[in-house]
């Protein structure tokens, strides 16, 4: 049997698939960041906390209201998205005309506050959340055992990513959004409510993070730090893909998940740093990122 760098091909296929699954989380989170950055010019450091809130709201919905996983998939993004809208209206809007740095500091501070609040109420070690019974178990693909739930995560994430891309790049609403980004004053002059668009966009980006949080709840530990562990990597993904590029963040998300997955096989110790090494290399060659437009 032939081996590739000492790894049998069966095992390699399995790892590639796992990489794609993890990539789907990166893709969904970086997509939300890209949408928010592209239209609001805000570097949303609260994104990780909002992803965490998504998972916690799913847990609360189950334990306080008896709503199952499928209901949480709808409810949680709506609830967390609504909190995002409140944040945009009352905080972000006021600093929209200032330098990037203010938005970054504000959202970073908010993230710390939100994490602290959840830690005070629920502790740091996390809460149990089971895989929904419809998706329990898995299939033996011959080269690996694929849990049904992971398969669902990849499909759900791909659908959401492509739908978002389609909406922004191919529909009339998307055209308004892009116009508002290019020239808010002129767009408003055409009778389009730009501030409302901006608020809804932020809410949508946040809802995407919350949706990723619900998807993550059954497989990752649901704890107040779950977002901060992931967010740094996701920011690297966004930077590599090119700030604000929708398609860039999707493709980069999936492909970096893949690279990270393979690193876990060949040199596990480096798997936490490989993404940052790639980031450095990409920035040296293409400072605007792989899919970014040079300003």
């Amino acid at each position: 049997m032939f081996e590739l760098l000492g790894i049998p091909p069966q095992a390699l296929f399995g790892q590639v698939l796992l990489g794609l699954i993890n990539g789907s989380f990166y893709a969904m989170l970086s997509l939300g960041l890209a949408v928010i950055f592209g239209l609001l010019n805000i570097i949303n450091f609260t994104h990780g906390a909002q992803y965490m809130m998504g998972a916690f709201v799913a847990w609360m919905a189950l334990n306080y209201l008896g709503l199952n996983y499928w209901a949480a998939l709808v409810v949680s993004p709506l609830v967390v998205g609504a909190t995002g809208i409140v944040i945009e209206r009352f905080l972000l809007k006021r600093i929209a005309h200032l330098d990037h740095l203010y938005g970054l500091l504000l959202t970073f501070g908010l993230a710390l506050i939100i994490q602290g609040l959840f830690r005070n109420s629920y502790g740091s070690s996390g809460l149990p959340y089971q895989i929904p019974p419809q998706l329990a178990g898995g299939h033996n693909l011959g080269f690996m055992f694929l849990p049904n739930y992971r398969g669902w995560v990849v499909i759900a994430s791909l659908v959401v990513c492509l739908a978002t891309w389609f909406m922004i790049e191919k529909t009339k609403l998307g055209a308004y959004l892009r116009a508002a980004t290019e020239n808010p004053t002129l767009t408003q002059a055409f009778g389009i409510n730009v501030p409302l668009l901006v608020t809804l966009t932020y809410g949508f980006g946040v809802a995407l993070a919350a949706l990723a949080g619900v998807l993550a709840a059954p497989i990752y530990s649901v704890n107040p730090n779950m977002g901060s562990d992931l967010i740094i990597v996701v920011f690297a993904v966004v930077v590599i893909g090119g700030m604000g590029s929708i398609l860039g963040s999707i493709i980069t998300g999936f492909s970096l998940g893949l690279v990270e997955g393979l690193t876990k096989v060949f040199y596990p110790e480096a798997s936490a740093t490989v993404i940052f090494i790639i980031m450095v290399l990409v920035l040296l060659v293409k400072p605007a990122g792989l899919f970014g437009r040079t300003a």
Binding site: G14, S124, F145, I219, T273
Partner: protein, 400 residues
């Protein structure tokens, strides 16, 4: 005459208060993780346990003034070292307690020795603290990697798990735990077929679990802790590892982890701890008091160890009427330990606190009567068997 008796009375009073004020005042610094993955098993709970020790010892009545301060080391050796130095140099701290995360504990161990203070470790696991890195200023209180390996590792091998694959957290603690467990496994006739070092802290372990699965090892040893353990057990269930016939050995699982996993996921897991709240009436009474102060959460063995360790330190201070590090350390090693949580024990010359360890199995959801009713005791490991014998010690303090 009147003046004379007044003066006399005054002198007498001064003398009396002089003895009562022959006070020792000690400053205790509880240094642990207050915001990260080990915050639930140490954190504020350890500070509460320390306060309870001072209260139960009635320190004030015995002329010992105790001040407790705390800080967050964020699981980073550099942060922990900076705080420890500042505490010893500027803030007048006499004892540092708890310090989970072995890499931070080893750093604080070194600094305490340099500054000639006292370090009573409850939270960290690396057996190096009483091995190659042992120090006359350190006591390792609650558990260590050797005892965990003896407990869980030994039990799994005896039950037929004779081939192992390790998932090891890539820092001092994980390395020590893997080393000690692998030694027990091979000593008992088993073999280690592979190991993978996972970045700490990690979120997704599926890739590593898949490697473990394809190794065909009978036992997958989780040489990690806290959130890493929770994530790996959760994902092992998802990938059908246990259903496929391989066994998981959670080498360091705390009760707070079981609480986070839920019994549905954690049931059947075998683990080693030195303290469980529901062991006897004394532990139950103490734990109820603790839970009332800690949002209803029962104590972990680490928090119980902080209580027990501080109690013993205060006894030594009372006996010697001194806080001189060498004097107090000598007394702590001389006095037998005795408290409601760990029972009778002793502190060995290398700084190892000796007490029994317990092997527990996590209950099925149907067996549990309510929140925090999680463990069934399956065996007791006598202290002499649980901890590394002095004859095998690499600690320079042990004369051979």
């Amino acid at each position: 005459m009147k003046l004379k008796s007044l003066l006399l009375a005054g002198a007498f009073a001064a003398l009396m208060s002089g003895t009562a004020l022959a006070q020792v005042s000690v400053k205790i610094g509880v240094l642990n993780d207050r915001s990260g993955l080990y915050a639930d098993l140490s954190g504020e709970g350890s500070v509460i346990a320390a306060r309870m020790a001072v209260e139960d010892f009635k320190a004030a009545d015995k002329g010992i003034k105790v001040e407790i301060i705390s800080a967050d080391h964020q699981n980073k050796p550099d942060v922990g070292s900076t705080i420890a130095r500042q505490w010893y140099d500027q803030d007048g701290v006499d004892v540092i307690m708890d310090v989970p995360t072995s890499s931070v504990a080893l750093a604080v161990n070194q600094i305490t020795r340099e500054k000639n203070k006292v370090f009573i470790n409850s939270g960290a696991a690396a057996s190096d603290l009483t091995g190659a890195a042992c120090s006359p200023n350190t006591i390792h209180w609650t558990y260590d990697t050797y005892a965990l390996a003896q407990g869980t590792g030994g039990a799994m091998v005896k039950a037929g798990g004779d081939s192992w694959f390790f998932l090891t957290a890539d820092y001092a603690f994980g390395h020590a735990l893997e080393r000690d467990t692998a030694a027990i496994v091979t000593k008992n006739g088993g073999k280690v077929v592979g190991a993978v070092k996972t970045p700490f802290p990690g979120t997704d372990f599926s890739s590593f679990l898949l490697q473990a699965q394809s190794s065909k090892a009978k036992v997958i040893g989780l040489a990690n802790a806290g959130g890493d353990t929770i994530n790996s057990i959760k994902q092992a269930g998802e990938f059908g590892i246990v259903a496929g016939g391989q066994k998981l050995a959670g080498l360091l699982v705390f009760i707070t982890d079981v609480n986070a996993l839920g019994l549905q996921t954690a049931q059947g897991l075998v683990l080693t701890e030195s303290f469980y709240w529901d062991t006897n009436d004394q532990t139950r009474t103490w734990s109820d008091r603790f839970a009332k102060l800690n949002n209803g959460k029962k104590p972990s063995m680490v928090q119980a160890g902080v209580y027990s360790g501080l109690l013993h330190y205060l006894k030594a201070v009372e006996a010697t009427k001194s806080k001189d590090s060498a004097t107090v350390m000598a007394k702590m090693k001389e006095l037998p330990t005795d408290d409601p949580l760990f029972g009778k024990g002793s502190v060995r010359v290398d700084g190892r606190k000796m007490h029994d360890m317990y092997l527990f199995e996590v209950k099925k959801p149907s067996e549990s009567k309510g929140p925090w009713d999680y463990y069934k005791q399956i065996a007791v490991l006598p202290a002499e068997q649980a901890f590394k014998p002095l004859s095998e010690s690499t600690c320079p303090l042990v004369k051979k």
